[in-house]
């Protein structure tokens, strides 16, 4: 602490201006937009947009769909997450290393592709799994229809599983097993203990997980768009998307009017989530080194439960990936057979790589990933530095500004950026997309860097000074090398996130500024599942290389930096977006 607080005042002010512009700016424009006559007439006051948006006859059905979808998903993914977290942290289930893999899954298979794979398996007309079951049992139709609320909940629930698992697992780790032992000694059975002690103590954590799942599914766009829209089931995000994409005049005013309410709900939910997390931290009765909960012996239930876990992993990764690979070689959807294998070719791959639009989308996505991640991480480094090293009211304000956008659903903030950018030269350019990406996803860059800064003990810098290094020299010799791995890994993760970005892009992408995910969505609309698969696999390949690279870089860093004990089955949450 070489009192240099004053030196940071201009930097702090600049960052507040920048971050504030990127987070509050689009929200303000969303509010102004909702009261304006149109995108070309900003500021001409009218209430028409609210009247027509809320008078829309399809709105009640959309709202009830949204409620069912959001709560169904939240219940499904919370139960699943708690179940897997319990098994991995508290029991002697085999192959715990597998659970460490969970958080990486959604980064490898973007939601659009996950949905595409399951559509080719479970769509009511020629879904491969449906066809196989019909042949097997002589059914006339069905039996599954992915284009339904049930199908949406199934897919979204699976996709939210890594997040719910990541919130539940630490709560399980810090749980004091003595509480349970006391119940057992008092005569309660294993099951009774679970019901009367374990679950009540974990209640705040479970509620927090549930709230987070609600936030995520409320903001979800890919699954409702891919699976809900063909079945004519609209939720709020797809409803907004319909307002701005279908028909001869997209109405961004109505989209803003509806989006604002969703945004308000999301902000309230995030506030609630934070309170619940704080409450659950109060229940942490045991902390400190060397503490390991006693493992519950599953006995005969061990292998059946393990099989259930394996099934989830198959649903999440193996089946969708295998389906995509298989489909990428076929001209149209076919159940695996000798004929199908004889018809396999590289045609889809050739078409995809040869298409000018898709090639442009590839280039755009690569540009956004590389340049966008660089800008986002540079900004994050400065923000994290100020937030950690400077203790002032301004730095606290900066921190809350940064984390504000955690609660913003991408689709709605995309509409906000639309209003924000429309009068600037950035409108309909890659630069505009870049600004929107950085603003929307800034917290995900700041978060890991903030913890990296926190971990660099002040004394490490100070000792370099005492032993003869100047301020700049100590930065070069100590701070930069210690920070570099975290910076690289944050960069890679941000780049991977920008490659699979859909909900902001779908609002802002225009001819000329196409991106991969949006193009995949268009191919899926045309039913070109083979090309979806081929292009999707290219995308999966890109982000997998990035994510695996990031983890390889992080591993030696995590080992050298701290010797804290990690309980098996828990993972560093900084890879997954959790507010």
């Amino acid at each position: 602490m070489l009192n240099q607080t004053n030196r940071h005042v201009p930097l702090t002010a600049l960052l507040i201006l920048l971050v504030g512009g990127l987070t509050i700016g689009p929200v303000l424009m969303l509010i102004i937009g909702s009261f304006s006559e149109g995108i070309g007439a900003i500021g001409k006051f009218t209430l028409d947009k609210y009247i027509s948006a809320y008078g829309n006859p399809t709105l009640p059905a959309t709202l009830s769909n949204t409620l069912i979808f959001v709560f169904g998903t939240a219940i499904f993914s919370t139960v699943l997450g708690a179940f897997l977290a319990y098994l991995s942290v508290r029991t002697d289930i085999p192959l715990k290393g597998l659970f460490g893999f969970l958080p990486i899954v959604p980064m490898m298979i973007p939601h659009v592709l996950f949905s595409s794979a399951w559509i080719t398996l479970l769509n009511p007309t020629n879904g491969m799994f449906n066809v196989m079951l019909r042949n097997l049992f002589g059914l006339a139709s069905g039996p599954f229809n992915i284009y339904s609320l049930g199908g949406m909940i199934f897919l979204e629930g699976m996709l939210d599983l890594p997040v719910t698992y990541l919130v539940m697992a630490p709560a399980m780790v810090s749980f004091d097993t003595k509480l349970e032992e006391a119940a057992r000694v008092s005569g309660a059975s294993n099951f009774h203990t679970l019901r009367t002690v374990t679950l009540p103590v974990l209640k705040p954590a479970i509620l927090a997980t549930f709230t987070l799942a609600i936030i995520r599914s409320l903001a979800s766009f890919a699954v409702p768009r891919m699976v809900g829209v063909p079945g004519r089931i609209y939720v709020l995000t797809t409803h907004i998307h319909r307002i701005i994409s279908i028909g001869w005049s997209p109405d961004y005013g109505q989209a803003a009017a509806i989006g604002l309410i969703v945004l308000a709900v999301a902000i309230i939910l995030v506030y609630l989530y934070r309170r619940l997390i704080a409450e659950s931290a109060q229940f942490v009765t045991v902390t400190g080194k060397g503490f390991r909960p006693t493992e519950i012996k599953l006995g005969r239930a061990k292998y059946p439960l393990f099989l259930v876990c394996l099934l989830f992993f198959a649903f999440l990764v193996v089946i969708p990936l295998a389906t995509l690979i298989y489909m990428s070689f076929l001209p149209y959807t076919m159940v695996p057979s000798a004929r199908a294998f004889s018809m396999m070719s590289l045609d889809n791959w050739r078409t995809v790589i040869g298409g000018t639009t898709i090639l442009r989308a590839l280039k755009n996505s690569a540009f956004l990933a590389v340049v966008g991640a660089t800008v986002a991480i540079l900004l994050s480094i400065f923000v994290a530095y100020i937030v950690v090293k400077v203790k002032s009211k301004a730095s606290t304000f900066l921190e809350s500004l940064t984390f504000l956008s955690f609660s913003f659903p991408g689709m709605i903030i995309g509409v906000g950026f639309m209003w924000f950018l429309v009068k600037t030269p950035l409108y309909a350019t890659l630069g505009g997309l870049l600004v929107a990406y950085v603003g929307t996803y800034l917290p995900y860059g700041v978060r890991p860097l903030r913890s990296a800064f926190t971990q660099i003990d002040e004394e490490l810098e100070e000792s370099a000074r005492v032993f003869g290094a100047s301020f700049l020299r100590s930065l070069r010799d100590i701070v930069v090398p210690l920070l570099a791995p975290a910076v690289i890994s944050a960069w890679v993760l941000t780049a991977a996130m920008f490659i699979r970005e859909l909900s902001v892009s779908v609002v802002l992408s225009r001819p000329g500024t196409e991106v991969l995910t949006v193009e995949i969505m268009k191919l899926a609309d045309d039913g070109l599942w083979g090309q979806v698969s081929a292009l999707g696999l290219i995308m999966v390949g890109l982000s997998t290389v990035l994510v695996v690279g990031a983890n390889l870089l992080r591993l030696p860093l995590a080992q050298s930096r701290s010797k804290r004990i990690k309980t098996e089955g828990t993972v560093d949450s900084s890879t997954v977006p959790i507010p």
Binding site: M1, L460, R465, A469, S470, L482
Partner: protein, 372 residues
């Protein structure tokens, strides 16, 4: 003079939550060359702040700091040397071993900063690692070391540049009790061997007593007493110091008369006691006297001693390993004494206790500070 640090009228205040805390309140101090001076005190007494001001990691509000003859910080002369130009060595509380470097990289760093030629660096690092008994550890990653080994790397790094003075900031507080004891002895051994000047900060009184040549006891930003470990432990007349270091029996008493310049008789609940007292207290002055538990001995009835022999009743006996901790009732007073374990004592026993006037001392009533 090389190897000494002088601090003159140093003041340092912090503002936290709209409240001003005075960490250093006009502190002056000169360290002896080639000796170990310990700053001892409870947490928040300003000892670490003083050390960090000397290192240059913190800026005082006013006063002056000199290393040797050279001022490194002075308000009036507007001098403020950055830490890297003060030529000191330091062992940090967390050791501050750089995790991305090897043992060699850590220890060589101070020499590299001074642009010492490479072969010379290698020679010196090897020499110093051998001194701290880490021969052959050069290429180990610094994180792949035990707590005790990290501590020794930190020491080697502080020693290697042959600094004018080495600063220690609670260097043993991260070790477990057993390792702390052996490391303490080891550290004392190294420092005596090298005849190096050191300032050592700790809140642990045993550590201070064993490791130092000289102790400065601090309280609320002020140095309350300065002296050798023996002086501090056995001969202090400051209420705070006596209470903070070790255990003591305190008794209210009144001055009766002086036997000599230092010895005087007081009346207390033990009866008349011959004590060591500060000079010039008037008869009838109310004072507090104190005794250390280990100063008492059990004497036979025919010992021939006449002064400071008390009829005592054993109230309770606690076996504490190396000795018995016995609570005696003497008249209306109770005192705690450590009695050798081979003297059989039981509750209710009546014995004669003796204490040398030298170890029965009157607290100086002029010292303002109350007991800790």
């Amino acid at each position: 003079m090389q190897g000494t640090i002088s601090v003159r009228n140093l003041v340092k205040t912090f503002v936290s939550k709209d409240e001003t805390v005075t960490a250093l309140d006009n502190v002056s101090l000169t360290t002896p060359p080639n000796r170990i001076l310990t700053l001892l005190g409870p947490s928040g007494c300003g000892k670490t702040t003083l050390l960090r001001c000397i290192a240059g990691l913190e800026s005082p509000d006013s006063g002056e700091i000199l290393i040797g003859e050279e001022p490194v910080w002075s308000k009036t002369k507007d001098i403020s040397l950055p830490p890297e130009r003060r030529g000191l060595g330091m062992v940090f509380q967390s050791y501050a071993i750089w995790p991305h470097m090897t043992v060699f990289g850590n220890v060589a760093y101070p020499l590299q900063m001074r642009k010492v030629p490479k072969p010379e660096i290698e020679k010196q690092v090897k020499k110093i690692l051998s001194l701290v008994q880490l021969d052959g550890y050069e290429n180990r990653p610094a994180t792949n070391l035990s707590g005790g080994q990290q501590q020794r790397v930190a020491l080697a790094r502080a020693l290697v540049g042959e600094p004018k003075v080495i600063l220690f900031d609670e260097p043993l507080s991260n070790l477990d009790a057993k390792l702390r004891e052996s490391t303490r002895k080891e550290l004392r051994h190294f420092l005596t061997e090298l005849a190096i000047s050191a300032i050592y900060v700790t809140h642990d009184q045993v550590e201070a007593l064993t490791i130092s040549d000289d102790i400065a006891v601090m309280r609320k930003g002020v140095i309350v007493e300065r002296g050798t470990p023996q002086d501090i432990y056995l001969r202090s007349d400051d209420p705070f110091v006596v209470d903070f270091i070790g255990r003591a029996n305190f008794l209210e008493a009144k001055i009766k008369s002086y036997q000599s310049e230092e010895l005087c008789v007081v009346t207390s609940s033990l009866g008349d006691v011959v004590c060591n007292a500060p000079a010039g207290l008037e008869a009838g002055t109310s004072v507090t006297i104190y005794t250390r538990p280990e100063s008492f001995t059990v004497v036979p009835a025919d010992s021939g001693l006449t002064e400071n022999v008390f009829e005592a009743k054993v109230n309770s006996v606690l076996f504490a390993g190396e000795a018995h901790e016995v609570e005696f009732g003497i008249g209306n007073a109770t005192v705690l004494a450590k009695i050798e374990f081979d003297i059989p004592l039981q509750r209710g026993d009546r014995v004669r206790l003796h204490i040398e006037p030298e170890w029965c001392r009157v607290l100086n009533p002029k010292r303002g500070a109350s007991r800790a």
